[in-house]
């Protein structure tokens, strides 16, 4: 056990799985870096360093740089997965999904069903998500609803270094296509991460904080914000339970419903615009199966229905802030 960052945890997960299983390969843009250039190759290791050093350890056959051709990257990963490899493909920013979505949602995700259960597509597609970096509208999206809605995909949103490693190892060993969303916001976050490999099963929520007056559900980078808001409320005696489902698909409905059964109040925090969001998804779930426990309206704290703005003053108000989460919580406390 030792302190590691979120990026280090991701790196360690892939490295250990590559050591364990020769069928695991890495493919994407600049996952090595420097190919064909005059200087050294392999020194980039992904633009945020998640794959750093893997090229040197595993060489060009297993850490494969590609042209800027996301459809071919995802397709190559899916085709390799169908025929026996376990590719870990990288999409530098999730925003690029628009140029390769077909290979994800019509191909990889649907093979098993379309082929009557006869195919396996054990691939992981890693992608970075999230606003907050002044990277503007085409490099700041999260887009987890886009994947969550697709039958055949599993979708992971780790909120800590510990979860990142355990969920990524599970993703690589998983026999279904997994979308693994890495929150840029958390890349530098440190936490205790065991040195040995371990898995965190999909569909099992983490109860980050216990409480009895209200439930917060949050994913990925929204978890620390939800906790911050919960801590602020705790000072006034409001005990909030914070649930991090870790995977949006499968979703641990039971843990959410049990919590609401206890608290009667729910705020869902979601790092995306409001329409057809994961916030709505969970609100809808509870408005159906948890209706009789509800003591107050279900609030959703989301981004506004706008693209991500560039300017710092605008972007700082774009994502759900602890203050907005707190305000939403307060607005349903009065319904006691």
């Amino acid at each position: 056990m030792s302190k590691k960052t979120y990026v280090q945890a991701i790196n360690e997960a892939v490295r250990q799985e590559m050591r364990r299983d020769p069928k695991v390969i890495v493919i994407g843009e600049d996952v090595a870096g420097g190919q064909g250039a005059t200087g050294e190759a392999g020194g980039v290791g992904s633009v945020f360093g998640q794959m750093q050093g893997l090229y040197r350890e595993f060489g060009p056959d297993r850490v494969i740089d590609t042209p800027i051709s996301e459809s071919a990257i995802v397709g190559a990963a899916a085709g390799a997965a169908l025929t026996g490899l376990r590719p870990v493909a990288e999409m530098m920013f999730v925003d690029f999904v628009g140029v390769c979505f077909d290979q994800i949602y019509n191909q990889a995700a649907k093979f098993r069903y379309m082929f009557g259960g006869k195919a396996r597509t054990p691939m992981v597609l890693r992608a970075t998500i999230g606003a907050g970096f002044r990277a503007a509208a085409q490099h700041s999206q999260t887009l987890h609803p886009l994947f969550t809605m697709v039958p055949g995909l599993k979708v992971v949103m780790p909120s800590s270094p510990y979860d990142a490693k355990g969920l990524l190892i599970q993703a690589i060993r998983d026999d279904d296509p997994v979308i693994f969303l890495e929150s840029k916001f958390l890349f530098g976050m440190e936490g205790e991460v065991p040195d040995e490999p371990y898995r965190i099963p999909f569909g099992e929520a983490n109860i980050v904080r216990e409480g009895k007056h209200m439930t917060f559900v949050a994913f990925g980078a929204m978890v620390p914000r939800a906790v911050a808001a919960a801590e602020a409320l705790a000072k006034e005696g409001v005990q909030v339970e914070v649930i991090d489902p870790r995977t949006t698909s499968p979703l641990d409905e039971d843990t959410i419903l049990e919590s609401v059964a206890k608290t009667g109040r729910l705020v869902v925090i979601d790092e995306s615009p409001p329409r057809c969001s994961l916030a709505a998804d969970i609100a809808g779930l509870v408005a159906d199966k948890g209706f009789h426990s509800l003591k107050a309206p279900i609030r959703q704290v989301t981004c506004p229905h706008t693209p991500v703005p560039f300017s710092p003053t605008l972007e700082d108000e774009y994502l759900p802030t602890p203050a907005r989460i707190e305000a939403a919580a307060r607005s349903i406390l009065v319904h006691a």
Binding site: A72, G75, G79, L82, T83, L85, Q103, F115, K118
Partner: protein, 323 residues
């Protein structure tokens, strides 16, 4: 090119199976026994059979919406196909895929694909597996002339060259993408030249001549198996019918349609083999009779076979395990 008598028989058997199967599909479709769409492969038999002739079960192919012929050429079971096309539980995909999604991984068939340009990137991946595992096997992507304008296809061409994988790109140019002629849809006069410009050899072959296709494919296989990377084929062939069964085809003159039929690869193959004295008429008759019987049996079995049971099958097999 010298082929053994057995090989010649196998070639004709495959081509005639496609012919008989597709003519039957057309008929059963018109009679309402086949749900959905049917894009038949009539006229292109020599292409699929020529390309797949030297492939084994561990070589892969990625197919298109017009995939029946590719399946049969790759040795996929005809009964399982007919069951699937009729949506029956015993079909190759349990009735979930249908005509446009027949797959049989045990035969190296990665699936028909209803997205134009869907398969080439997948074939690059299948070829990558072969290179990585040093199997000496290849992956073939079938692509139409219409599909040759889809961005995913170009990306796959470039990627295959960059990764130097044993991928073979078989462009079946039947002059039409749905109801539009290739001379309109492809800005450049030659598909093969476009493929070459991506950095791989590409041969143009007469897709109405089984031997020409086979010869081109053999060069491609030699190249790919020797580790020289991908190879392209532009296979010029004819679509006998419309885009789908039922397409009235006012955009094609009767003369053009007649010309297409006149180029039929099957009589051409038969005449040539007969002339060379390699097989005799009785051989052909025997093959045809046997194939017709097989297809008839497949249809009869499929017609009475049970449909899937929604309670059991609708939500099954979305995931290997959903947790």
């Amino acid at each position: 090119m010298q082929l053994s008598r057995d090989d010649l028989k196998r070639a004709y058997e495959r081509m005639f199976t496609i012919r008989a199967f597709e003519e039957r599909v057309e008929k059963e479709f018109s009679q309402g026994n086949i749900p959905g769409f049917a894009h038949v492969y009539l006229g292109q038999e020599a292409s699929g059979v020529g390309v797949c002739f030297d492939l084994g079960d561990e070589d892969y192919i990625g197919s298109t919406h017009r995939g029946h012929g590719h399946c049969i050429a790759k040795g996929v079971d005809v009964k399982g196909m007919m069951l699937e096309i009729m949506g029956k539980a015993g079909g190759l995909c349990g009735g979930k895929g249908g005509s446009m999604h027949i797959a049989d991984l045990s035969k190296g068939m990665l699936g028909a694909n209803a997205i134009v340009g869907g398969a080439p990137p997948l074939a690059v991946g299948a070829a990558l597996t072969q290179k990585y595992n040093k199997t000496g096997k290849v992956a073939v992507a079938f692509t139409g002339d219409g599909a040759s304008n889809q961005g995913t296809v170009f990306e796959a061409l470039n990627m295959a060259v960059v990764l130097k994988v044993p991928a073979i790109f078989a462009f079946e140019n039947n002059s039409y993408g749905e109801h539009t002629h290739v001379s309109y849809a492809c800005g450049a006069p030659s598909i093969a030249d476009r493929v070459r410009a991506f950095g791989m050899p590409c041969e143009v072959v007469d897709g109405m001549d089984f031997f020409a296709v086979l010869e081109g494919m053999r060069k491609a296989l030699e190249h790919a198996r020797a580790g020289h990377g991908p190879y392209g084929l532009e296979i010029q062939c004819k679509r006998f019918l419309g885009h789908f069964v039922g397409d009235p085809q006012a955009y094609r003159t009767p003369a053009e349609l007649a010309e297409a039929r006149a180029a039929d690869a099957l009589p051409r193959f038969r005449d040539r083999v007969l002339e060379a004295g390699l097989l005799d008429a009785a051989d052909f008759e025997a093959i045809e009779a046997q194939v017709l019987e097989l297809v008839e049996a497949a249809v009869q079995e499929a017609l009475v076979a049970p449909f899937p049971d929604p309670a059991r099958d609708l939500t099954r097999d979305v995931y290997v395990r959903y947790a």
